[in-house]
């Protein structure tokens, strides 16, 4: 088996290469769960973002390594008070039906995104723009958003305060332009095949829900001459094991993920196709600090944090290259100096000794164990991690740990209500490459703070950092905020995500990057 498979795979690949030279080049990408919508201002999931990245182009776009570069705007300037950006749009930028892309299209897109009537999940990402919050809350009409088309090729955006990461937000789909004529004509059906008009390197050909989305190159795209791949097929691959088998059968060039249990097999048999890269995300467990047993009980929180052996979770439970987390903000975040927890680098004996001491001090013992309920949403991987963590707490501390799994929507509600939760699993992927994307979700007023964590000093630190213009001061503020978090421990960071996928060797021109953003227009097929 071992020796046949790679050879078999190789022959399949050779076959593919031979046939590919005649037919149009088509790249087949596994794209995980179903894309819920191709409306850029309503899309929420990673799957949708992947497709939209090929379909649309924002003012700013990314290079293969996800660093920022000129997109639909060929240049821009920032005013001296760091509050007003002026973008100059490319004159040759065109929509997929040949219409020119104008500043008005971007204004319309941004307004639509902020308009509460659109129902965007990501409108809050526009918050740094002046008046955006009032528009989102419905207190101001959308045309009051501080975005202006000076002329068809000049666009200004005025900010609420200096925002260091603002340009990074402009690669997000909620800032994409909208083709006004087709939106007006088709209404909610504008994103269907045949109706959708986009300004990116590709355009929509076919969309079969629960199966695939087919894109072809957009002949009107300004850089079409440098695009190599003719068609991209995004396949729905909800079931990772099925995806893995399809890759092995040569039906996919690129997978969305890799089933955790196949890690060892893959590293032994397909090492050259296995691609891992750090990812801007943290997998964590949250404590509900508004209720016992974790309310005002830092010792128990700390004991439980220390009793998790992250190395085991990463190496044995996950085994695909995840990094143990002893801080909150993922390594590789631009302009961030990590504040590691005090226990960073301790070995298991040390951590466990301290954990047991704290557990006892918090008033628990063998006769009087802490009873802890771990909530997680239904998912193979979360189940595995939760089972392992429960066993660590149980076997090493004597905690009476109980697992509860709920499916996603129920879990979200339970979490939000904070009435029953004790410990819950969670994960966060940064929307943009800045520590703020991670730190802000623990602000006492943030919608995602389901821990109920509220420390005025923490709030003050990140509020200050958000509008600080001096990079050095900002870095210090964010560093201090993270350090405070590692002291208070409303959350247990467990590991930093990695992106992991199988990529056929015939795909070139792409680079692993921390955002896991990959534009098909840079890729080539051999």
């Amino acid at each position: 088996m071992k020796s046949i498979l790679p050879r078999l795979l190789a022959s399949v690949l050779v076959f593919c290469t031979l046939t590919a030279s005649a037919a149009p080049q088509i790249l087949r990408k596994g794209n995980g769960p179903e894309v819920e919508t191709l409306d850029p201002h309503k899309a929420e999931g990673v799957s949708a973002a992947n497709v939209l990245r090929d379909l649309y182009e924002g003012l700013i776009t990314e290079r293969p390594d996800a660093t920022l570069t000129a997109g639909a705007a060929e240049s821009w300037t920032l005013s001296d008070d760091r509050l007003t950006y002026t973008f100059t749009l490319r004159r040759d930028a065109k929509w997929s039906n040949g219409d020119p892309v104008t500043a008005e299209d971007f204004v319309a897109g941004l307004r639509r995104s902020a308009d509460p009537a659109t129902g965007s999940n990501y409108s809050q990402i526009l918050a740094p723009i002046a008046n955006a919050e009032a528009v989102i809350e419905g207190k101001l009409p959308p045309d009051q958003l501080a975005v202006t088309a000076v002329d068809p090729h000049t666009l200004t955006i005025r900010l609420k305060g200096p925002t260091a990461y603002f340009l990074g937000l402009l690669v997000h789909s909620s800032t994409y332009p909208i083709h006004r004529a087709s939106l007006a004509k088709f209404g909610t059906a504008f994103a269907q095949p045949g109706n959708l008009v986009t300004n990116g390197a590709y355009r929509l050909v076919q969309r079969v829900v629960q199966s695939h989305i087919l894109l072809e190159r957009n002949p009107y795209y300004w850089d079409n001459a440098h695009t190599s791949i003719d068609q991209v097929q995004y396949l729905n691959t909800e079931d990772l094991n099925s995806e893995f088998k399809r890759f092995r059968a040569g039906e996919l060039d690129w997978t969305y993920e890799v089933p955790a249990s196949q890690g060892a097999w893959i590293r032994a048999n397909l090492p050259e196709m296995y691609k891992v890269h750090t990812y801007l995300g943290v997998y964590y467990y949250g404590f509900n600090v508004t209720r016992p047993p974790f309310k005002d009980n830092p010792k128990l929180r700390r004991a439980l944090t220390l009793a998790i052996d992250r190395k085991i979770i990463c190496e044995k439970v996950q085994g695909l290259g995840e990094q143990p987390a002893d801080s909150w903000v993922p390594p590789g975040t631009i302009g961030h100096r990590t504040a590691k927890a005090q226990w960073s680098g301790w070995n298991r004996e040390q951590s466990l000794a301290e954990a047991r001491r704290l557990y006892k001090e918090a008033g628990y013992s063998e006769e009087n164990p802490a009873r802890v309920e771990i909530l997680y949403n239904t998912h193979e991987n979360h189940k595995k991690v939760a089972t392992a963590i429960a066993a660590m707490w149980k076997q090493w501390l004597g905690v009476d740990a109980v697992l509860v799994n709920e499916e996603w929507k129920v879990y979200l509600q339970t979490r939000r209500l904070k009435a029953r939760t004790e410990v819950f699993r969670a994960g966060w992927i940064g929307d943009y490459n800045d520590a703020n994307s991670f730190l802000e979700i623990l602000h006492s007023k943030h919608g995602l703070n389901d821990q109920g964590y509220s420390n005025p000093r923490y709030d003050e630190l990140i509020e200050k950092a958000a509008v600080e213009g001096d990079p050095a001061v900002r870095e210090q503020l964010q560093h201090d905020a993270e350090a405070l978090l590692m002291e208070d421990l409303p959350v247990i960071p467990i590991y930093f995500y990695v992106t992991k996928r199988l990529v056929s060797p015939r795909v070139t021109g792409w680079e692993g990057n921390i955002m896991d953003h990959h534009h098909t227009r840079y890729m080539r097929l051999q």
Binding site: A264, W265, K394
Partner: protein
Amino acid sequence: MNKVETALAVAAAAPVGRSLWADARRRLFANRAALLSIVVLVLMVLLIVLGPMFSPWTYDYIDFDGIWRAPPQTEGMHFFGTDQLGRDLFVRTLVGGRISLMVGIVATLVSLLIGVAYGATAGYFGGRIDGLMMRGVDILYALPFMFLVILLMVVFGRHLVLIFVAIGAINWLDMARIVRGQTLALKNREFVMAARASGVSNGRIIRRHIIPNLLGVVMVYVTLTIPQVILVESFLSFLGLGVQEPATSWGALVNEGARDMDAAPWALIFPATFLAVTLFCFNFIGDGLRDALDPKDR
């Protein structure tokens, strides 16, 4: 019970009953497949109940250094190897069997209870009541019940009791139909007429005369339903709606094993074998019982 009634009951049971049951037992034991199945099933139950005692492991203990140990692991006492978290598969398979069998039996009993009560009532009263009640069954037959079960699990979360009730609720329809048919035939038999003539109440006749005579059919049905229910549970496990970890069932184990079948085949083979053998046994016993009780063959 008054004297007349007792006499009637005995009269009803004696000539038909005793010889029928004795006969049936003889036929059943003459059926080698069924007999072997009974023996295997008894052994299986014993193993499931007592087996975990002979292992030093518990079903939820994680040995972080012993992930995916292939069997046989005699020195580690992992007879069936370990799973993706280093838990002992021998104990997990047996403990999972407890849940699967329990779900199978309890859910079948639920459907039995509803089905027999409903079917016997409809059949006994006949006429318009029967028509109405059976129309109701027809209506329910057309419901995509599995979908409703999925909705139920989504709505109310995964309690074991709910699984019993939900699965039981799907299966009672067949039972009701079968029982009704039998009752229709039974109610015109002499002993029932005699009971009615001597003024025994309807409820009593159903309980004392009709239901005991349905036992044969019901037993066949029960043995054939249990394996179906076990499969339904495994289906729910596949959809992620099964029992809560760290507890497990054969369905859940087989599902996990199927996922990693090329990396750790033993994690599939052992639970799948247990599951398949058990279903085999129930089906063979059911077949044997049906043959043994079928009056046509006599």
